[in-house]
Symmetry: C3
């Protein structure tokens, strides 16, 4: 990072738990910082000493390869040390509470905690406890229940803004763009976080999904709802697809994966409704032939799935860097 | 460590398996070395190159978060490389003997082995085999069956001595202090290791627990036994609580967790029997409301649980450093 | 490495998938490079900055301690960063294809993929896809089904050549040496890879095993087949034993482990048929008393098992180094 990155004096957020109250200037700081780190990642030596000897604890109570590896790599490229907490072999199975586990990691020296949990609110609870104890631990929500997944939405935002300006990504680039989010909105923490950041950025957000997966109350987010795909795709600049959990079928929320694909699956043909330059995102892992046709996923001119993964490392480096730079951060 | 740490010429112990024959000068070297490393941990850059490129193998045949993470962090802060041996996915499930596994790790280049096993004596057996083969591998017992857990007792000793002298912790500070160890003494390797170090340091050690968990033969350690809590607590300077395994109830060794807490659980009220400055330890993970009341555990003026965890990293750095500094150690 | 290692201009192989078409000059480059790295491993500081900040992803779909740890240590000693992919907790359990997992790791920044899979050909498929996408990812086959295990055969070759010239190991040293490979040839990917490298090196290779484990078609490799042990051992310079899977008994391919040992187990007594200086190898983990007598395994004058493990780290450092040095390799 060094010279290319100014100290972000405007940044005061130690925890990153939700995007609900992120301002445009805050989103822009994340985008600019991530762009600087992406330059680092394009060098031959992709490592900076920013967090040398500082400890990032990964607490993934819910399994994940993609997000955990992405954070692990981001932390390594900042020269941090990493503690991986594996719930299966942990003190939790001996009856310890999550808060006591977090306190133990803090007492060992962890300054950052990246937390995924199947229950909404767990990262907030841990962050509140860390603050109450007067620690400087910085907590990042890496996905909590059906609530939020801020780092995913921020990497989506970064990927989208870079479409229009690779070196100067900023929110205003998305103003007025029509973005369709398609699929299982109801159960998606990715969708919720994206709703906050994209509407804050001024995008024209449309949601589409079957009624069982898109309840009417989502209108409160200031977005347009569609229970059919076509009006959502019409003239869209961007289509964001969401992962469909196979268990939704057992819950009778969708008739079958095949029928879902027929109604809401994205294909080259359906994209003809959109702007000619339309691009498609998916947070992964993709069920090929369900949310997206295989041909579309593999079409590098349209699919941004690989760029999202690549952006993820730069964005997560930026988040850890920013969290660690607040006046009262640990160290 | 550099200048602040003298080479401990007096240190000749390559393996750390038991505290039974540790002398006061040896304990004092551990305490002083740990104090030096704790200064490192209070710096912004918490890392030293002491064990750079040397390999520490963690062999945890019994699951553990706390102790394994503590050793992993200690090794990382000494700049060592770490091999984590996960029994579940290992050659052991293919029928390899533990000794052959240890030999393989040695042949790969491991110079330190940190071993936990549910059978007493396994670390000793591996250490003896490593010596027989003429290797310079240093073996540390991280908990073997019901036998010993030396690094836990040493971090307890360090935590206690630092109460009286944070910068110059040494055994003599505990001379004559009344220390009550309360709970499931019978099944506790932590208690056994502590008995050795605390009596060597000259403390006045009292044990308390129900008769099923405190057999009379423990008197041989030169300590006072109590089958009721009150006389153990009377005028005590320190109360060490032990973890109660929930399965003791199924074994009919205790009637119920609730009744155990009523008879031997430590609370603010009960501590009125002790010295006014009394402090409470627990090796973790704690069953809240069983060994300790929740209020007591969270009372930072009395509970030393977090300090124990923090001390653990410094003490384990000291142990790895000392083991690696013996004249015949690997490297 | 630095000065002692010339840039291997003659090396053009980015993937290492099979030894079938390895030439003698290529094998010799591996041997010489490994010898240079072994010198590094004999220094006090066993680390070189060769792959600093480059990412090695370990994808072990089939469990392994030995090979995975060996690669992990090799990568660490080259200063690489490592991503460990654990199939149990992975996106694969969410239905993602292996190719999509590999693409995700590439998009995150992995430049090397070390792949083990129970299906033959998986590493080849991933390598082909990485090439098709125009990535510079280098793929190493760490064992695929019953097909090949090139790094094991290369470490065996290195161990053998070093018997005759520790500092200048090269293929010609094995010309005309009688090498007996004994055991479950049929199910051994180690045997297949060794057949290619040893015959290329000009050794006189003999295979021995019961008819159920040594099908006649192995004659096509230009080797001599024996369904009894004695003629294979007669005047042999080297005996390579293979691991016997216990499940072969349930498949009725061998009558019992005991009977197998009586017919094909290697003991000091049986080695009297061989050259006086005969040495014995085994890829590990060993079933003591089955493939080898316990006494023989522990006889450091005859058994090369520990040297094989030690060689493994140097050879794998050499392979990662060479794969990363091709003109079009990532970075």
């Amino acid at each position: 990072m060094t010279s290319s990155l100014h100290t972000p004096l405007q940044w005061h957020r130690r925890h990153i738990l939700s995007l609900q109250d992120f301002s445009v200037p805050e989103l822009d700081i994340v985008l600019q910082t991530a762009a600087s780190f992406q330059e680092v990642l394009n060098r031959r030596t992709k490592k900076v000493p920013t967090l040398q000897a500082r400890v990032v604890a990964n607490l993934f109570f819910e399994s994940s390869t993609r997000t955990r590896n992405s954070f692990e790599l981001a932390a390594k490229r900042l020269s941090a040390d990493i503690l991986n907490f594996a719930p299966g072999t942990s003190a939790l199975s001996k009856g310890e509470t999550i808060l006591d586990t977090a306190k133990t990691l803090w007492a060992m020296g962890a300054e950052f905690m990246v937390i995924r949990h199947q229950q909404s609110g767990v990262p907030h609870t841990i962050a509140a406890e860390m603050d109450r104890l007067g620690t400087q631990v910085a907590v990042l929500n890496a996905g909590d229940g059906l609530h939020e997944h801020p780092s995913q939405a921020l990497l989506d935002l970064f990927t989208l803004c870079q479409l229009y300006s690779p070196r100067q990504p900023r929110c205003e680039l998305l103003r007025g763009k029509k973005i369709a989010i398609v699929g299982d909105i109801r159960h998606s923490r990715v969708a919720r976080s994206n709703l906050y950041s994209l509407t804050t950025a001024g995008a024209d957000v449309h949601l589409a999904g079957p009624p069982t997966l898109l309840p009417p109350e989502f209108a409160k987010y200031g977005v347009t709802l569609h229970w059919q795909l076509e009006p959502a795709l019409a003239k869209a600049d961007i289509v964001m697809t969401l992962r469909l959990q196979r268990e939704r079928m057992d819950q009778h929320l969708i008739p079958s994966l095949r029928e879902y694909h027929q109604q809401f699956g994205i294909t080259h043909e359906r994209l003809r409704l959109c702007q000619p330059h339309v691009r498609v995102l998916h947070p992964g892992p993709v069920n090929r032939g369900v949310e997206l046709s295989s041909a579309l996923l593999d079409d590098g001119h349209v699919s941004l799935v690989n760029q999202q993964v690549t952006s993820g490392v730069a964005v997560r480096m930026a988040l850890l860097y920013l969290m660690g730079s607040t006046p009262d951060a640990g160290g």
